[in-house]
């Protein structure tokens, strides 16, 4: 294993240790506030960007403990150059290892902060469900190619990392989403990306999504 791979593994291990320690530290003596929303309540979701569309609507269904969330979003995006629109279906699962932390009261409301969650998404172009205007965005490889020649181009898998602010039944979140092409590029070309793009190169491979969830 080369030096770069070793360094990355060490950083990953340190991050995991920090997160575990942070979780223990942060939950000590936290005020248990009756205004913390129930962890297992479903939510309506409205998100902008984050590879799910200019705007996307959906639902969030958490597990009873609130540790896992399953989100489905239907979005629409307009291409800048051509002006053409396409739909996107995003199916996300996320892991929430840290319960929201009380940070303050404001205007009679308790504000909680969930510092970190992570998960995986599958983002589908609407070609998956209908004919596309070209056969180069596809769910099934066209017959003219041998099996396995190209991966499906109408589907992207992605990694999400996010944080949220919780006020009563409202959850405002920000997520960084990286498709697997972006993750692969970041892993193999980290030096180039960090030297040429902002935010340690993440600007080149990630998209920010901002959204709001309303529990019901």
């Amino acid at each position: 294993m080369g030096n770069t791979a070793t360094k990355k593994l060490v950083i990953l291990l340190l991050l995991m240790t920090f997160l575990n320690s942070f979780k223990s530290f942060a939950t000590e003596g936290v005020e248990k506030d009756k205004h913390l929303p129930p962890p297992g309540a479903n939510s309506l979701v409205l998100q902008g960007y984050g590879y799910s569309g200019d705007i996307a609507l959906g639902i969030d269904i958490p597990s009873d403990s609130g540790s896992f969330h399953f989100i489905t979003l239907l979005g629409i995006a307009q291409q800048t150059r051509s002006g053409k629109r396409h739909g996107l279906l995003t199916v996300k699962s996320s892991w929430h290892p840290i319960s929201p932390l009380f940070i303050m009261r404001s205007a009679g409301q308790s504000v909680f902060w969930e510092p970190f969650y992570t998960g995986l998404s599958v983002i589908m172009h609407d070609c998956v469900f209908s004919n596309c205007d070209n056969d180069r965005v596809f769910y099934e490889l066209p017959d003219r190619y041998p099996t396995g020649y190209y991966p499906q181009t109408a589907i992207n898998t992605a990694l999400n990392i996010g944080s949220s602010i919780v006020v009563e039944k409202y959850i405002i979140y920000a997520e960084m989403i990286m498709t697997m092409q972006g993750v692969d590029a970041y892993y193999h070309n980290h030096t180039f990306l960090a030297e040429n793009y902002d935010y340690w190169g993440l600007e080149a491979v990630a998209s920010l999504g901002i959204g709001i969830k309303i529990q019901y």
Binding site: R81, S82, N196, A204
Partner: protein, 282 residues
């Protein structure tokens, strides 16, 4: 800090990161420049040609050949850096396709970021991977036509789309034949074809199609074709047609080629970083 300020600070921080609405976007931010267009680069090339004819009088020239940079922007960046060190010696750059792996907006963005670093004229041919998703539309918007020709110091280059699997009308052999015709008053010492997929690639072209392409080359006065796609340096000579074929490696390990064209011969160098060795003539 009150609630509103806290939300504003957090939101503004994240907003700076950049919001992209879809992986299938078609407008890479770093490609929004005329620097990449065929017309701009042709004008740069013509200016250089005039300067050489007036000031230097040399009849030979060198072209850097790069191919298949997909998934390796770091290596592509290193190659451009190596070429830039020789920009007094190299006259222009030809990129032989597969700038991207899936024709995605972000991949084009990385490539444009790199290409901005060279002052040499550069010209491109589209690769099969570049045609995936909305790659063709993005490519045309950045670089221009998929088939075109240019001349430099008595040599004509015919650059065309040979991606038969992705483009039903490719290769356009009528275009190749027409462009190869010598115009009134035009003096040509060589005509060179450049396309991503070589006609010798039997996984794309059957033997009849391959022969047809090579026959068109010969009929058009083309005796050298240069390609990428196969990811390693290779050289072939079809004796029956007097037709040379030079294939450039992908950029992994900082590889690229240099073609020197003189009135009488072609010299091929295989390069890795700052080190080059003559592959042919032996």
């Amino acid at each position: 800090m009150n609630l509103h300020k806290a939300i504003t600070v957090v939101t503004c921080f994240f907003l700076i990161l950049g919001c992209k609405s879809s992986p299938w976007g078609d407008c890479p931010e770093n490609c929004q420049s005329e620097r990449f267009s065929f017309e701009t680069n042709l004008a740069l090339l013509k200016k250089k040609e005039k300067s050489i004819q007036i000031n230097e009088g040399r009849t030979y020239f060198k072209v850097a050949l790069i191919s298949d940079s997909q998934r390796h922007p770091e290596n592509f960046d290193n190659v451009i850096e190596s070429i830039n060190k020789r920009q007094e010696d190299i006259d222009f750059i030809l990129f032989l396709g597969d700038l991207t792996d899936a024709g995605l907006e972000m991949e084009f963005d990385w490539a444009c970021k790199i290409l901005k670093k060279t002052h040499l004229p550069f010209f491109t041919v589209i690769g099969n991977h570049d045609l995936l998703n909305y790659g063709e539309e993005i490519w045309r918007g950045i670089f221009g036509p998929l088939d075109y020709s240019l001349s430099f110091l008595g040599t004509k280059f015919i650059l065309f789309n040979s991606n038969k699997m992705e483009y039903s009308s490719a290769p356009n052999l009528y275009f190749v034949e027409t462009e190869a015709q010598i115009g009134t008053g035009e003096i040509l010492f060589h005509t060179i074809a450049a396309a991503h997929v070589p006609p010798s690639d039997s996984s794309i072209f059957n033997s009849v199609e391959s022969s047809e392409i090579k026959d068109v080359f010969v009929k058009s006065g083309i005796h050298l074709s240069i390609h990428g796609h196969l990811h390693k340096f290779s050289y072939a000579y079809d004796k029956s047609r007097n037709l040379y074929q030079y294939i450039i490696s992908r950029v992994e390990k900082n590889r690229y080629g240099i073609l020197t064209v003189t009135r009488n011969e072609f010299i091929f160098e295989n390069c890795s970083g700052d080190s080059c060795s003559v592959a042919l003539p032996k």
